[in-house]
């Protein structure tokens, strides 16, 4: 071929065609980006939101249900001129609100493109109906059904937790599971059981044109997906009891936990002050109010606050002493307003008879007696040295579910604290600490901490005579079974036979009769064999905390309760009546006439001013 001008031009023509073909090859064959964008262009995913699972109480009453609300969507692309005044009145909002919104959309028009955006969230059906009648006047405005949470009874705000729209962080954290506009449980049961409750979104796929007019269902809808509703779950909560507990705890700071000893099911769990379900339903509006509340209503004290257990811990020391053989039911110790752990230092006690026996010491909550007990445990010659004895003691304590997380199904549970020997070694130096150093552990004070849930579990353990089930809040329901670990008995290291001896003391503490010296005689419920142990835990911030654990009936117990009231003084003054009223309500269904005065006293009690909030 001669390279004349004709051929040069033909070569040029060939090259130009090759350039075109090359570019076509790159965008049609090599690059998938355009195919994806084409799909995104032409398909409209019409999302169908699933209804969230219902949360039932143990009797099948609805704690959390669903109700219908409507989001008002607007496609700024399709909106022509319309009467803002009519729209505002139909939707029950301010005219300025709509004007401002429309102005905002106009500004971000290119970013919005031709998809609809949410203008108003969760409009109630009554309002939506008004809007629907006039909808034809407002092209571009549509409604979208959303199911939102509904709370038929005010029970267990803190337990249930709230549901709210996911934010960017949440979406990022749960890669691929959520997209903007979805709701998710953020706290409590809603968060813990989110996977079951949320269900699966569905969608209809439509083909649309460039003006976003829906043309036809894509492939006649065969690719569509129906929404799968969330699974319903049943909690162990007794709604009536929970509600009553909340009433009793009104205007007090603290926790009230009730467990069914024979199953470990949590019947009631109150953290006060808590969140009303009304606030949960509209968390968006109340959020800052809740966060700024000095009493921290979001803080679930029942599982997150680590308190010194106080005198209720004497039960544990007593049981270890019995098991180790360093004390017997007939062992007597003297106590004269306290126990001298060095020549000039005394751990004080209140006035009671002296000397006293084991069950009397429990009944009257003698501090001195249990100092002797712990000392005998720790200075037991069976062990090589003091540290080994301490470690053994600690092992016993941990077997009661203290010092470590119980492993309940409640999210954000904390474990309290039982100091290890290493901790004291570090604090005082190796082998430089002895019984006098840690004397306050005898009466559940000092470095130790337990959550109200752990204290309630301790009570359930005693009620069961030596074992417990991990306290839990979700029951088996329909096809959902709970973790088998919640159905395993967990025995303490103390022989089950020892428990009866402690229980006798607890029975006397309540039922010893007036003048007997029992610490909780005022809480006796005639006819119900209530067994209890009071506690008065020191609180460095103000008055002592009032503690009471109790279970009933004595034989074959149905309920075990722990009440922990901050800054309320003696165990007997507030915690006892509250716990005993709760038990009476649960076992009898109502409060007997002769105890009505006690109920009134509790309901009217306002201890908020005693609590320091800074």
């Amino acid at each position: 071929m001669v390279l004349n001008r004709k051929n040069k031009l033909l070569i040029g023509l060939g090259l130009a065609c090759l350039i075109l073909v090359g570019k076509l090859f790159s965008i049609q064959i090599l690059n998938d980006k355009f195919k994806e964008e084409a799909n995104r262009n032409a398909m409209v995913y019409d999302i169908i939101y699933p209804t969230r699972g219902v949360i039932y109480d143990r009797k099948g009453d609805i704690l959390v249900g669903n109700k219908v609300a409507y989001d008002i969507l607007v496609s700024p692309f399709e909106v022509g001129s319309f009467d803002t005044l009519t729209l505002a009145s139909a939707l029950g909002v301010d005219v300025e609100f709509i004007r401002a919104k429309m102005k905002g959309y106009h500004k971000t028009k290119s970013r919005i493109g031709n998809r609809p955006v949410v203008m108003i969230k969760q409009v109630p059906p009554e309002t939506y109906m008004k809007f629907e009648e006039l909808q034809y006047k407002f092209p571009g405005f549509t409604g979208q059904v959303r199911s939102i949470r509904d709370y038929p009874i005010n029970a267990g705000g803190n337990l249930l937790g709230y549901v709210s729209e996911v934010d960017a962080n949440f979406i990022k954290k749960h890669e691929g599971e959520y997209s903007a506009g979805d709701y998710a449980g953020k706290t409590g049961i809603e968060a813990a059981k989110e996977k079951d409750l949320k269900g699966e979104k569905g969608y209809h796929i439509y083909l649309r044109d460039a003006l976003n007019r829906i043309q036809t269902p894509y492939r006649n809808g065969e690719m569509d997906k129906e929404a799968i509703p969330g699974k319903n779950i049943m909690t162990t909560i007794d709604a009536t009891l929970q509600q009553y507990g909340q009433e009793l705890m009104a205007n007090k700071v603290g926790s009230l936990v009730a467990i069914e000893p024979s199953t470990g099911e949590i019947l009631t769990m109150v953290s006060s002050p808590g969140i009303d379900v009304e606030m949960l339903a509209d968390i968006g509006h109340h959020y800052s109010e809740i966060v700024n509340d000095p009493y921290k209503p979001m803080f679930n004290r029942a599982v997150q606050a680590s308190y010194p257990p106080g005198s209720v811990f004497k039960l544990v020391n007593g049981l270890i002493g019995l098991n180790e053989g360093v004390v017997t039911p007939s062992t007597s110790y003297p106590c004269n307003y306290g126990y001298y752990y060095s020549s000039d230092r005394k751990l004080g006690c209140h006035g009671h008879k002296s000397p006293l026996s084991f069950s009397e010491a429990i009944m009257m909550s003698c501090n001195g007696y249990f100092c002797y007990v712990l000392r005998s445990i720790l200075e037991n010659k069976r062990y090589k040295n003091f540290t080994e004895a301490y470690n053994k003691w600690r092992e016993y304590v941990l077997s009661f579910g203290l010092g470590e997380k119980l492993g309940s199904d409640f999210p954000s549970e904390l474990g309290g604290n039982v100091p290890s020997s290493a901790y004291y070694d570090k604090l005082y130096g190796k082998n430089r600490w002895r019984f006098p150093t840690i004397v306050s552990l005898s009466i559940g004070q000092g470095e130790m901490g337990a959550t109200p849930l752990q204290i309630a579990n301790l009570c359930a353990t005693v009620a069961n005579r030596g074992y417990y089930y991990i306290p839990h809040i979700i029951k088996d329901y329909e096809d959902q079974t709970i973790d088998p670990k919640y159905k395993e008995k967990r025995y303490t290291m103390v022989d089950t036979l020892q428990f009866q001896k402690v229980i006798n003391g607890m029975w006397l503490a309540v039922n010893g009769g007036p003048g007997s010296g029992g610490t909780a005689v005022a809480s006796a419920i005639p006819g119900l064999d209530l067994c209890g142990k009071t506690g008065t835990a020191q609180n460095p911030r103000g008055a002592d905390n009032s503690v009471f654990i109790c279970f009933a009936p004595k034989d074959n117990p149905k309920i075990a309760v722990a009440a922990y009231i901050e800054n309320a003084g003696f165990g007997a003054t507030w915690a006892c009546p509250i716990a005993s009223l709760l038990i009476e309500k649960y076992l009898r269904g109502e409060i007997s006439e002769e105890r009505k005065y006690l109920e009134q006293y509790v309901l009217e009690g306002d201890l908020m001013s005693k609590v320091k909030t800074d």
């Binding site: 023509l13 060939g14 065609c17 075109l20 076509l24 262009n41 032409a42 044109d209």
Partner: protein, 476 residues
């Protein structure tokens, strides 16, 4: 008797060209159907729909083709070329004042239900006049008087069309360069245009500094190539230019308030007089050329920079920016191209099938049956379909060029090259635009795009050439 060979029509007509034409027109119609149907059923004879109208245009084109082939005397074209040309220029001017405004340009006449664009006919008229003038015996393009005459013939309608703000159609006139090249225009002109385009793009996309460095490299290459000093180029010029390329980076790192141009200017001020002196003494032509290339190039870079930033209006600037990929703007000016590339790209190897395209059918691509008809081809027929169409065009142009070369008459040859150049320009700009190689310039794809005046114009253009060629075949 003076007629040595009398061949029959069957033998004299270049049927390969005609078949190629018919195939393209039919492909065009099929794609107009796909591009303008909605989900309802298609009635081919629904003349309110675009595909119905296009059928009318196609049938009338066939009639036109037949008239040109069988009724009109091919000699006629040479005779009436000048009157037609003058008439068309008149029309082009008149349309500015009397025409209907369509999308911001006054380039359409409305006659009852029919609208037509004089610019389409002016391409034919210009081609005819060019063929007539240049085909005369003794015409020499190197003669400056003739050269300016040709420039005037091409430039006059081009300027008027520019005044109608039909930039796209005006741009097509640049295609005559290919014909001129064939007829003896210096190849340097093409090189010059190429370098200008390169500098233009570099100035806008990277920086004028890089453009100037590239220019220096080209000038040095010219000089060294011409005087056989390639060693100097590779050992001295290329490394020093590379080194200079890093200067702006250093300046930025050291945070100096200092333009890298100062260094380049200083070097230029020393080197240029030195080179000039040397060339003068040794009477070296190469030195002077290098200096001129460098200085003219610098002027181009500076003026590009200045015009782009100070003269052009915002929307023009935006178009160039989007084309050169300087700004990504899928919702604004880049929307068309983006959507068109999505449509074509989504076609894949073999396409989605006739009427199965979602992008074109649902109107994502604007102007989809006219300027963006190729999107439908790309989406519904895929890479293979695109290749077939491009191959058909290649064959068509190739065939026109070989036929033109085959011809013994200057008029036929030059008219053939004009036809080939015009079809090529339309083809390359239009398809290039739909796949993002070219800016969005609203010109139709010959034979495929919906629209009567474009189809008619290209039919007339092609069939004049076929009839000219045929006439030669008849008698020689």
């Amino acid at each position: 008797m003076y007629s040595p060979v009398q061949r029959k029509a069957k033998q004299t007509i270049d049927w390969k060209l005609v078949i190629c034409y018919l195939l393209l027109v039919i492909i065009g119609w099929v794609n107009v159907i796909a591009a303008s149907h909605s989900t309802e059923s298609i009635n081919v004879f629904d003349f309110t729909a675009r595909y119905g109208k296009q059928l009318v245009w196609i049938l009338t084109s066939f009639v036109l083709a037949a008239i040109i082939l069988f009724v009109l005397n091919p000699r006629l074209w040479e005779v009436i070329s000048i009157p037609i040309y003058l008439f068309v220029v008149l029309l082009l001017v008149a349309v500015i004042f009397l025409g209907t405004e369509v999308k911001g340009s006054h380039s359409w006449f409305t006659l009852g239900p029919v609208r037509f664009q004089p610019a389409e006919i002016s391409k034919i008229a210009t081609s005819l006049v060019l063929a007539m003038v240049m085909g005369r015996p003794g015409f020499k393009l190197s003669d400056s008087k003739s050269f300016f005459l040709i420039c005037f013939i091409i430039g006059l309608p081009m300027m008027v069309i520019l005044a109608e703000s039909e930039t796209g159609s005006a741009l097509v006139y640049l295609g005559f360069v290919f014909m001129l090249y064939r007829e003896g225009l210096s190849g340097w002109l093409l090189v010059f245009v190429g370098i200008s385009v390169l500098l233009f793009i570099l100035t806008l996309t990277i920086s004028s500094y890089v453009a100037v460095l590239t220019l220096a490299g080209i000038a040095a290459l010219f000089y060294c190539l011409d005087s056989g000093k390639m060693k100097v180029f590779f050992l001295l010029c290329a490394p020093s230019i590379c080194l200079l390329a890093f200067v702006p980076g250093f300046i930025q790192k050291l945070e100096l308030q200092f333009s890298p141009f100062y260094i380049v200017s200083a070097i230029s001020v020393i080197l240029i007089p030195y080179l000039a002196l040397r060339s003068f003494r040794k009477r070296e032509r190469q030195g002077w050329i290098a200096i001129i290339v460098y200085l003219v190039g610098c002027l181009l870079v500076v003026s590009t920079d200045f015009i782009f930033n100070n003269v052009l209006q915002d929307h023009q600037r935006k178009r160039i920016e989007v084309l050169l990929g300087m700004k990504d703007d899928p919702t604004g000016i880049g929307y068309n191209v983006n959507q068109s590339m999505i449509a074509i790209g989504s076609g894949g190897l073999s396409g989605k099938g006739f009427l199965q395209g979602t992008q074109t059918a649902f109107g994502f691509v604007p102007e989809q049956s006219t300027d963006f008809i190729f999107c439908t081809v790309g989406e519904e027929w895929g890479f293979l379909g695109c290749c077939v169409v491009i191959l058909l065009y290649f064959f068509l142009i190739y065939r026109i060029i070989t036929d033109a070369e085959d011809s013994r008459e200057g008029f036929t040859r030059i008219f053939g090259y004009c036809t080939a150049s015009l079809i090529f320009m339309h083809l390359f700009i239009n398809i290039g635009m739909t796949i993002g190689l070219m800016p969005v310039i609203g010109i139709p794809l010959p034979f495929l795009s919906y629209g009567g005046s474009s189809l008619w114009a290209f039919t007339i253009l092609l069939f004049i050439f076929i009839s000219l060629y045929r006439q030669e075949k008849k008698y020689y």
